[in-house]
């Protein structure tokens, strides 16, 4: 009997969609030309790039010349923030972001703080939402950039990006949003939102790893991050990663086309999982917003147990989940996002994130609901923080 394997870590990364793979494949060994070359091999590659750029533009509601391919979501975030900061430092040195951004944003901001910039990190409420009032109050004459993520990678909370964009526009401040997790799970139309810069990453939407996109609204003043050849209209250098660009194009197209159907299915699976856990396991707390949350995000704190132990036990049962962001699960610190929504250190340590994807089924959910309670129970019995009362009732 092969063990069941249930992958519910789709916020960390996703498998490449078969249709995406199929379109990428010829660009490794057959149409391998460099798009900058003028011969037929190069023109084939260039043509594929153009088509992919059109698809991404269509998926985001952008113009094709506002779409710039990067080497990752992280690079898109770095570029947006450093590029705007350095290009506009004549106008001011103040940046506003939040305490719950991805490290790609936070560590970039910390780096800028070392180079003469001032950064305000907005608080969030217990559900992970920023306060528009606090945002308004944080704005100064020297504010040149607001960067607030569209949806959080750990707890799935969605921010009011449209209203943030309005505030930013009113004050003449650039607004960037990290939409890496939102893409595919929320409708994104850059013009409707009114955002100036927006980052996405292919590997979160069944595209390949190592390719991102930065949407840059026409007219934005931004420095380059990676200097060199004339690729991406002289704004992002390096031989184009044609196969990955093709993959990003197809993945973005599928994400936009399937959005409604996908989120409907994810929401139903998500709620089955959330309800099932609350029913079966005492002393759990749903992290994130009850309604303004990504359709595929489930994040619980399990009191008295530590997340890694939970993860490894689930892994032995074939269930791949995460404890906080993919990037923090290797670290020892509890997630900055969970602390920002007010969890105690020990509760933050006991968090479990399950992020659903295309491949998941109701059977997967039921399997998790069958495996998870005894695992939580065993670890709680090992825990000195937890005492089981004799009558089978649970107390602390």
């Amino acid at each position: 009997m092969t063990k069941r394997r249930v992958y519910v870590d789709n916020a960390a990364t996703t498998p490449v969609h078969p249709q995406v793979m199929k379109e990428m494949l010829p660009y490794f060994t057959q149409y391998y030309g460099n798009p900058s070359s003028i011969h037929s091999f190069g023109r084939q590659a260039k043509h594929a790039m153009d088509k992919a750029r059109e698809r991404v533009a269509a998926a985001l509601g952008a113009a094709t010349d506002e779409v710039f391919f990067t080497g990752s979501g992280t690079e898109a975030d770095n570029w947006a923030v450093k590029g705007v900061a350095f290009a506009n430092k004549g106008r001011g040195n103040h940046i506003i972001t939040t305490k719950i951004e991805h490290h790609a944003l936070l560590h970039t901001c910390q780096y800028l703080e070392k180079h003469g910039f001032e950064v305000t990190y907005l608080d969030v409420d217990e559900y992970g939402r920023i306060s528009l009032k606090q945002l308004n109050e944080a704005i100064k004459d020297s504010t040149i950039l607001i960067s607030i993520m569209f949806a959080n990678n750990e707890i799935g909370t969605i921010q009011p990006v449209g209203e943030i964009a309005r505030i930013a526009k009113e004050k003449g401040i650039y607004f960037h949003t990290d939409a890496v997790q939102a893409m595919g799970n929320v409708k994104i139309d850059v013009k409707e939102i009114g955002v100036d810069l927006l980052s996405i990453s292919a590997h979160k939407i069944m595209g390949p790893k190592g390719i991102g996109v930065l949407y840059i609204r026409k007219g934005i003043r931004i420095d380059n991050l990676v200097h060199g050849g004339a690729q991406e209209r002289r704004r992002r250098s390096g031989t184009e990663n044609v196969a990955a660009v093709v993959g990003m194009g197809k993945a973005a197209q599928l994400a936009a086309e399937n959005l409604e159907q996908h989120t409907k299915r994810m929401t139903s699976l998500r709620d089955r999982l959330i309800d099932g856990i609350i029913e079966r396991i005492p002393h759990v707390k749903l992290n994130g917003h009850p309604t303004e949350r990504l359709a595929n995000n489930v994040n619980f704190s399990f009191e008295f147990v530590e997340g890694e132990a939970l993860l490894l036990s689930l892994d032995m049962a074939g269930i791949a989940a995460s404890s906080g962001s993919a990037c923090t699960s290797g670290s020892l610190d509890p997630s900055h996002v969970l602390l920002a929504i007010g969890l105690s250190h020990e509760t933050a340590h006991g968090s479990l994130r399950m992020t659903l994807g295309e491949a998941n089924t109701e059977e997967d959910i039921d399997y998790i609901l069958e495996q998870l309670p005894p695992i939580a129970n065993r670890l709680r019995e090992l825990s000195p923080l937890f005492k089981q009362c004799e009558g089978g009732k649970v107390s602390v």
Binding site: A309, M316, L332, S344, P384
Partner: protein, 128 residues
């Protein structure tokens, strides 16, 4: 990430539980750090007759607790005190670098429990 010995001790930890009216109890770590180890000792004639643990923490913390209890069970107090975190790591066949502090916790936990026993028995001696 972890070797088979670690995973085996994590999956089937030895000496889990508490000892009622233990001769010595030690608790180290803190929930903030994500690790708490609590050790219960039954000591007779200077020998660790029984030992139990409860641990809140990651797999390597649980495995370190488990193997440590096996290593000191039946040993004299002095032998138990000579146990180092390196011994725990070696017995586990190695731990990833960022997890070595779990073995330190195991060393500290047994020391804390023995210290508690000594304090308690001094108390007994003094009052007896």
């Amino acid at each position: 990430m972890y070797n088979e010995t670690v995973m085996e001790h994590f999956t089937n930890p030895r000496n889990v539980g508490e000892i009622e009216d233990a001769d010595g109890v030690g608790e180290v770590g803190s929930p903030q750090c994500g690790d708490i180890m609590k050790i219960f000792l039954r000591i007779e004639d200077n020998i660790i007759k029984d030992i139990k643990f409860k641990t809140f923490g990651c797999a390597s913390a649980i495995a370190s607790s488990s193997i440590m209890t096996e290593m000191v069970k039946g040993k004299t107090i002095e032998e138990a005190l000579s146990l180092t975190n390196r011994d725990v790591v070696d017995a586990l066949g190695g731990l990833p670098a960022p997890k070595v502090h779990c073995s330190v916790l195991a060393e500290e936990a047994i020391r804390a429990a023995i210290e508690d026993y000594r304090k308690k028995s001094e108390g007994t001696r003094n009052s007896g």
